[in-house]
């Protein structure tokens, strides 16, 4: 390294870089400036989410009903527990990171190694949890009907408990085979046909007296509106246009399509930050193992990657609030 540095004879003087503006080293200051700009990016996303939510304030999906899964607890309504666990894991990995920085200040290499290792594990667990959350979100639980106006109709029983389409719809004999490469256009195939059509849903609904339609509109109690049986029949027969199960960027069974878009985009962008954070942590972890910073005489690099890692945690605190709590 030393050989490539051009000596100007002004080292240590103000114009030779001897003066540290704001009493922070160059690397640390640039990390802070990056973090500020990244924070503004995330704020832009969250503010756009807020905009859309205010625009659909009386029909926005209720997060407690969407994110209510917990591993190994099928069919149990567990709102928030899982995401609270994820938050806790990320905060804890932030703690181990700051402990690694602290150990670095005291030049205790083995402690830095241990805490950075824990941080990386925490990050990986968080990423896995997020993947699981996405899987549940994409797969969906109950299924719903889209209307001609692009709204979502969900189904509940008389107690207001959600009913899945698969629970009450019986499919009429299939009249159409799936189009794949051997029996249709050779260059394309279509996704698996849905198990039933919108017509099946309508006839099955009319046959099941005790099922009601729930619309997106939020009533005075902060709950989704449940129509009477007569209204339900009229609404479904007149407006039902298609079936939607799970979520993608254009349709989702939870309600306003923008909800899924923002969920994918914001938690995805945050997850991408966690992923890069884990990768950078791994690189620095090996540098610590190799003794790079021991030889350099300081562990400032651990501090800088730590700043990034805490920032990822900081963003999650806001995502958690605005996606799951508010």
């Amino acid at each position: 390294m030393e050989a490539t540095v051009i000596r100007t004879g002004t080292e240590g003087k103000t114009w030779g870089g001897g003066n540290e503006p704001l009493r922070a080293s160059y690397g640390k200051m640039m990390m802070w400036f990056f973090i500020v700009s990244d924070a503004l990016t995330f704020s832009g996303f969250l503010a756009a989410y807020g905009f859309s939510r205010f625009k659909f304030i009386d029909s926005w999906p209720i997060a407690d009903e969407v994110f209510n899964h917990f591993p190994f607890m099928h069919g149990v309504d567990a709102p928030m527990y899982y995401v609270a666990l994820m938050t806790f894991i990320l905060i804890f990995s932030s703690v181990t990171m700051v402990l690694a920085v602290d150990a670095g200040h005291q030049m205790k290499k083995s402690k830095v190694v241990f805490y950075m290792f824990l941080t990386i594990i925490g990050g990986v667990i968080f990423l896995g949890s997020q993947a699981w959350e996405w899987k549940n979100f994409i797969q969906g639980t109950y299924g719903a009907v889209t209307t001609t106006g692009g709204n979502i109709l969900q189904f509940v029983d008389e107690d207001g408990k959600r009913v899945a389409l698969a629970d009450f719809v019986t499919a009429a004999p299939a009249t159409r085979v799936q189009h794949d490469r051997s029996n249709g256009l050779w260059f394309t195939e279509e996704p698996a046909l849905p198990a039933y059509t919108i017509e099946d849903v309508k006839t099955s609904f009319l046959a099941n007296e005790n099922i009601l339609v729930r619309t997106q509109a939020i009533n005075a109690d902060g709950e989704k509106t449940i129509l009477t049986r007569a209204e339900s029949e009229r609404k479904l027969v007149a407006e039902g246009a298609g079936i939607v199960e799970g979520a993608n960027l254009t349709h989702n069974e939870y309600g306003v399509p923008l909800f899924a878009d923002f969920f994918f985009f914001i938690t995805g962008f945050h997850g991408f930050h966690v992923l890069t954070g884990v990768l950078i942590n791994i690189i620095i972890f090996f540098n610590v193992l190799l003794g790079t910073y021991e030889r350099r005489g300081n562990y400032e690099m651990v501090e800088k990657v730590g700043l990034y890692w805490h920032f990822v945690d900081l963003v999650w605190v806001f995502v958690f609030t605005f996606f799951y709590l508010v």
Partner: protein, 120 residues
Amino acid sequence: MAHSSTHTHESNTKRIWLVFVILSIVTGVEVVLGIIKPDFLVDYTFLSMKLLNWIFIILTLYKAYYIAWAFMHLEGESKGLRRAIVWTSVFLISYLLFILLIEGDYVYEVFKNNKVSWDF
């Protein structure tokens, strides 16, 4: 950097664990409130937002403060750097939120009250 070796760094472990406990408790309170949703917090609003949501936002900012000050060690940076970071973000983000949320509410009013068929 030459300056870090001249400083003597005493261990902050105790404070780190304390902050961890604070953050965990605050998160716990948020989750419990989010599950129970007490009636009186949901029924009353301030600036057309439920009290419960105000509590969530204030607790979030409280957590953000601890993460930035204790974990990211802003409390130890020079005043100039701290202000460059915090004031810039706070000013720009408040402005952005103000504009977008007001506009979102306006669009909602338009859909609701004007002669626009939203559900056809």
